[in-house]
């Protein structure tokens, strides 16, 4: 099967990281059960409502903004769920999309329809997540059988055994809320300090301190042999 990176696909004007090309209208139609002119007029009405909510949000109306984000969140979840199956991935990506919408909300032009603006950002962030995921896959290797721990003292020091992984999960459970959050955001999800700070609402220094303390605690629990 021919492959195409999500990044290249989006740059080339395609809008979907996995199934190329998929038209915006088709995507939107697929999200609702309705079809035909009635559905089109319902979508127009919905778009007009979102347009006016976004315009009010750009003028500083927080209630309108909260209403808008609450209304679009299920749509974002549906769009993301078409590409990602894991509930955890979908949760994370939807949050990324909401944060991205927040940071570029000034780019919306009220004279233009809202839904294409929204879907473009959503697709971009979904593609970014796919790129991030494929980058992680390139650098990590899944092994059915772990190397014989007795074969090399160095390997023994570097690799965490299956029991160790379970132990790690248990140990994470024993960490404080802040420390566990730092490990999850920075190490498990692989976010940058800035991204983790935006998502958690904690400052970068606070996250660094929590991460440092978490690693120290994990070392004390003998999670890491080296």
């Amino acid at each position: 099967m021919a492959t195409c990176s999500p990044e290249a696909a989006l740059e080339a004007g395609y809008h979907h990281p996995r199934r190329l090309p998929v038209r915006l209208a088709r995507e939107e139609e697929g999200l609702g059960a309705e079809s035909g002119p009635k559905s089109a007029s319902a979508q127009d009405a919905r778009d007009q409502r979102w347009q006016s909510l976004m315009q009010a949000s750009q003028n500083g109306d927080r209630a309108a903004y909260e209403a808008l984000l609450t209304e679009i969140a299920p749509l974002l979840r549906a769009v993301t769920y078409r590409v990602w199956r894991s509930q955890q991935d979908v949760d994370d990506i939807v949050q990324d999309i909401l944060l991205s919408i927040h940071t570029v909300r000034h780019t919306y032009d009220p004279a233009r329809p809202f839904t294409p603006w929204l879907i473009t950002i959503a697709r971009r962030r979904i593609a970014d997540a796919a790129r991030r995921s494929s980058s992680i896959s390139r650098h990590e290797t899944l092994m059915d059988v772990l190397p014989d721990a007795a074969s090399s003292a160095d390997h023994q020091a570097e690799h965490v055994s299956r029991d160790g992984v379970e132990h790690l999960h248990q140990a994470l459970g024993q960490l404080g809320e802040g420390q566990r959050e730092a490990v999850e955001l920075l190490k498990v999800r692989g976010l940058s300090l800035k991204e983790a700070s935006a998502l958690s609402g904690k400052s970068v220094p606070a996250l660094k301190v929590n991460m440092h303390r978490a690693l120290k605690s994990l070392r004390e629990m003998k999670i890491f042999k080296s």
């Binding site: 927080r62 299920p74 979840r77 949760d91 780019t107 032009d109 603006w117 473009t120 950002i121 971009r124």
Partner: protein
Amino acid sequence: MTNPRDTDLIRRLAQDAGPVSRPPPPMVSAMIWFVLAVASALGVVLVMGLRPDFSERLGDPLYLVEVATPLMTSVLAAAAAFCASCPGRPVWERFAPIAPLALWLAALIRHAYLAYSASGQQALMLEIDAGCLPKIALIGMLPAVLIVLMLRRGAPIAPITTTVLSALAAASLAASALRLVHIQDASIMILVWHVGSVALIAASASIFGRRLFRWPTANLAIADPR
């Protein structure tokens, strides 16, 4: 129904949402950039010194076309770059500079053909003129920095395309400005050294796309209530 994790984030985003100022429409942004970029390029041209036969060359329609078409390429590449940083805009807008670029190439090829018809092989003699690339880079540097700064206010939905278009805008403006300085009217030389330099700069700029245009970070002041 909204996911509880989304609800928390949405509440925090809404609390953070103040009024925002919208950027000007892409064509207006492009014109603002173009005026500033032309002023900057003319400043460098005056420092380098106008070519001695400049006033005579102004009477040559072929020369004027060869100066005007890269300028048109520059404006439309800048407009396309601004469009590419606005979510929800049609993808065809990103191809806008192709028409003036084709006109520029056609004018140079026609000029080369006329010269060949008049003087034979002599008109197609290619010499090494390695000074063009650094001069184009020098004249285009400030316009390039300026357009990147302006584009960073947009959404990085197509960072590589945006970077290539920005580089094309700055480099083609510089190539046009170079015709005011450089005593070089052999079309084959301009085709290879000027257009080649513009192409090289635009292509190599793509490497920096993702580094130049990143999603801004949301600085949410209020911590997630636990």
